[in-house]
């Protein structure tokens, strides 16, 4: 196992380097830079040139890449151009908020999707199955901003149960439990939106995996031996059906930190997704590079995690 891990981790390095070259090249080649996008109005040409020199935009591309790469290896992701503070600090400010939101949303998704998927599979073509399928497809088809605005209208305006936006009540200086409850209240609507739009596909996936397992011969044998439905489904079938589902969990790693751009935008939630989108239109390249490299690394790690989980859960698989 250790050998396998080491080999995989070493393999990640050239991949990450390749990704960084591509992303850097794409951003640098995109028209417009930070100065053009934010500061050029009203400034004299000398000032614009001065600023571009200060920011290093006048140097050739390979030089700028080497500068960025050598700094990154040492842990210095550079200064965010719009926030004027280290990229690592900016990401740190926002990524944990996204993490909390995404974690709750995914837990919600899993808690709904897996049982419903299982039941759907065991009661295939029943009314429950049809209903669940409709619900799942609606969730997949519904745009998250639409669902978000709908929920805001019903549960924050018409019935003022939940706050409209934000992560905590402005001006309230809550600490400890009161603060946790306050944040929790603010998290309910956004995590519902994120969770409900994601539950559909997970449910269908579980259902399909379950259906496949139920068709297997050993399930027929178990039933023939006289085991009850509940034992057959939950002790034998489910475990095997969950194998593909568990590996999906590994892939969710980058999404936990990537931020839900649209949901965060609607709810003015201080997450990293919203910041990343803003940075794109403002051409804040250091922040975008840092954020994208983080996601790239997490995606590769997520892949690795999936493979390990797969081997752990399925005894037929041997990691080499």
């Amino acid at each position: 196992m250790r050998q396998y891990l080491t080999r995989r981790l070493i393999q990640m390095i050239p991949i990450l380097i390749g990704i960084s070259v591509i992303i850097f090249g794409l951003f640098a080649l995109a028209p417009g830079d930070f100065i053009d996008a934010n500061m050029s109005m009203g400034a004299s040409q000398e000032r614009i040139d001065e600023l571009k020199a200060l920011y290093g935009f006048d140097k050739p591309l390979p030089v700028r890449y080497i500068n960025w790469a050598s700094n990154t290896i040492r842990g210095n992701l550079g200064l965010s151009l719009q926030f004027m503070k280290p990229v690592t600090e900016v990401i740190d400010d926002y990524v944990w908020n996204s993490f909390i939101l995404a974690s709750i949303a995914y837990m919600l998704s899993i808690l709904i999707a897996v049982p419903v998927g299982v039941l759907s599979a065991t009661k295939q073509y029943s009314k429950f199955d049809m209903g669940a399928t409709v619900f799942a497809l609606m969730g997949i088809a519904m745009p998250s901003f639409f669902l978000g605005l709908l929920l805001i209208k019903f549960f924050a305006i018409d019935l003022p149960i939940f706050p409209v936006s934000g992560m905590s009540t402005a001006g309230a200086n809550n600490t400890g439990l009161a603060h946790i409850l306050d944040v929790g209240k603010h998290l309910i609507l956004p995590s519902l939106v994120l969770g409900l739009t994601g539950v559909g596909s997970l449910m269908r996936y579980t259902r399909t995996a379950m259906l496949e397992v139920i068709r297997q011969d050993y399930i027929r044998t178990a039933r023939a031996k006289g085991l009850g439905q509940r034992t057959v489904i939950y002790r034998h079938a489910l475990r095997n059906a969950l194998i593909p589902v568990v590996t999906i969990l590994g892939m969710m790693l980058p999404s936990l930190f990537g931020g839900a751009i649209i949901t965060e935008q609607i709810f003015a939630y201080p997450g990293i997704g919203r910041i990343a989108l803003m940075s794109l239109s403002k051409r804040d390249y250091p922040l975008l590079m840092g954020f994208n490299m983080m996601l790239a690394a997490l995606t590769l790690l997520g892949n690795l995690l999936s493979d390990i989980l797969y081997a752990a859960v399925d005894p037929r698989v041997r990691l080499k």
Binding site: S44, M84, L149, S168, G271, R283
Partner: protein, 571 residues
């Protein structure tokens, strides 16, 4: 997202007010409001009062000593010298104060921390008023003023303010390290400081609207060529303004508390909170009483919705800016003024503006706000929609209608390649109208769609033929010279008119307001006829304020932060 782009444009503009602030004008201390020009203040802001204050939601009424202001994402740079965005600016305007203020007509007045006199139009002597202190109790001195400006001249200063453009003596020498201080910025005594220019520049008075920062606090550890000691404090500001900084929660709120040492008296509202709101929900936040002040896109529906709520006061006034169509004058087809005039006559700007903004937009014919002291409509051609006139102008210019329905000149077909932006509130209405009108005129009008920074990049490289953008306006008309004079850095149109160039120079060299207004009048008449760009409209801004706020004041040239300390919460 498109709203963000608009706010982006406005943000750049407002943030660069520091740099753009030119317009000198007033000579002696308080600017004399010209006796001849009409007082535009009363005309500039349309206030729609709340009709039923009893409907104020309980959650708002419960906030007896706090107000919540909705705004966009902060960058967290709460220093006047470095802050670039509107939300950051809103915060630091409550924390720091300038030497010179601006009144509701856009003229300089002495409601800042100093009074001043001008000698020979080149020497500005500022005297700090008595009792002005920073929130930690220490007095504001001339050295603090000097420090606030020295920062801008540091060679590593990388924000947009441009100290070099006013001709202050000795700035370059200081930047290059040849001098220890700036010759043109001299501390006379504890309360007095002198700024000297190489030659008269009417714009410089607006440069003095920069917030003053305390040298002892920000200058600790500061050395020439290294501004990090100041940057490190960007999220912990301290100034002389009516409010003190309490807390900043990234992406969420900024909390301020009244400055008990404020030299003009205790502010009426003890606590101010800025809250980040999303465009999608800002209307709901106002109507549910969770936010007290917010600027909201003005449209017929929004106004109706806010009026229906009953407890919100609306302040509507012309935006400091205008939307226009730019063109590359180097292209032979655009270099003929008759063609440009024809293109302008062929657009029904009145209908377009009405379709986009309803009653809240107006056609504009000169590059100046209709509530500015420099505005004029004497001798200005309004280019009312006239297809016949457009056609005859094109005939005159040698573009003959061919058999295929297109115009030709010297064998060349009249084609226009327009660079637009997709999902754009203005272009979605304007472009179809233009396509139809120009087709009728015999022009092959083609459109490509790009995003905002790409468009900027294209125009910077003179690679676009015709496009739509907006410029922002500042209190000083002179700041627009960069846009329209020959070789101006913002002149992306290759436009050149020597007569106009001279007037731009004259307008800045003259420091008397009334005379300046005349010069700019002449200038605008030339630009109106010569059409460097086709100006379409000036739209409006709207600020919604909970009716329990008394004395809330906002106008085109005076942001609400300037007078917020006088606002009180009704019982």
């Amino acid at each position: 997202m498109k709203k963000l782009k608009w706010k982006g444009i406005a943000a750049i503009a407002l943030a660069s007010m520091l740099a753009l602030s030119g317009c000198g004008g007033g000579t002696q201390a308080p600017a004399e409001g010209g006796g001849e020009r009409a007082d535009l203040t009363s005309q500039s802001v349309d206030i729609v009062k709340a009709t039923d204050t009893s409907r104020n939601p309980q959650v708002a009424l419960d906030r007896k000593d706090t107000i919540v202001i909705g705004t966009d994402d902060f960058n967290g740079v709460f220093i006047p010298q470095f802050g670039q965005t509107v939300p950051d600016r809103q915060v630091y305007e409550l924390l720091f104060e300038p030497l010179v203020g601006v009144d509701e007509e856009g003229k300089p007045i002495d409601d800042g921390i100093a009074t001043w006199t001008v000698e020979d139009d080149v020497k500005y002597t500022f005297t700090i008023k008595d009792g002005v202190v920073f929130s930690d109790g220490t007095p504001v001195t001339a050295e603090d003023v000097e420090f606030s400006y020295l920062v801008l001249a540091d060679p590593t200063y990388d924000a947009s303010s441009d100290i070099g453009k006013y001709g202050i003596l000795g700035v370059d020498a200081y930047k290059n390290g040849q001098a220890d201080s700036i010759e043109g910025i001299k501390v006379i005594d504890e309360k007095t400081i002198e700024f000297t220019l190489e030659q008269p520049n009417a714009e410089v008075i607006y440069f003095f609207t920069l917030g003053i920062i305390p040298k002892a606090y920000y200058g600790e550890g500061y050395t020439f060529g290294d501004l990090s000691s100041i940057r490190d404090l960007q999220a912990k500001p301290m100034g002389s303004g009516p409010y003190k900084f309490v807390e900043y929660k990234e992406g969420q709120t900024v909390t301020l508390v009244a400055n008990e040492n404020y030299w003009q008296g205790t502010p009426g509202i003890p606590n101010v909170i800025f809250k980040v709101t999303s465009n999608a929900t800002e209307m709901q936040e106002i109507i549910s009483g969770q936010i007290d002040i917010q600027d909201i896109t003005v449209s017929v529906e929004n106004v109706e919705q806010l009026k229906a709520a009953g407890f919100v006061d609306l302040h509507i006034f012309p935006t400091n800016g205008y939307g226009y169509l730019g063109m590359n004058h180097e292209l032979p087809k655009f270099s003929d003024v008759r063609v440009r005039q024809a293109l302008k006559y062929a657009i029904n700007r009145k209908d377009a503006t009405e379709a986009i903004y309803g009653p809240y937009g107006n056609v504009l014919n000169i590059p100046q706000s209709r509530v500015s002291w420099a505005f004029t409509d004497e001798g200005i051609n309004s280019y009312d929609y006239d297809m016949e006139k457009a056609a005859s102008l094109l005939d005159e210019a040698g573009w003959e209608m061919g058999d295929d329905g297109f115009r030709y000149k010297d064998g060349e077909k009249f084609e226009i390649f327009f660079t637009g932006m997709s999902d754009h509130p203005v272009l979605d209405i304007l472009l179809p109208m233009m396509i139809e009108s120009y087709k009728e005129l015999g022009i092959d009008f083609k459109v490509e769609y790009v995003d905002f920074p790409t468009l900027i990049d294209k125009t910077n490289n003179y690679a676009a033929e015709m496009w739509f953008l907006a410029w922002s306006l500042t209190p000083d008309p002179g700041s627009a010279s960069n846009i329209y004079r020959t070789g101006g850095p913002q002149n992306k149109y290759n436009y050149s008119n020597p007569a106009a160039d001279q007037l731009w120079i004259d307008g800045v060299a003259e420091t008397d307001f009334n005379k300046r207004a005349e010069i700019y009048g002449d200038l605008y008449r030339i630009l109106n006829e010569d059409i460097p760009v086709i100006i379409i409209y000036q739209r409006s801004d709207m600020w919604a304020a909970n009716s329990r706020l008394e004395n809330f004041n906002v106008s085109p040239y005076r942001t609400f932060t300037k007078d917020l300390w006088k606002v009180t919460i009704a019982d």
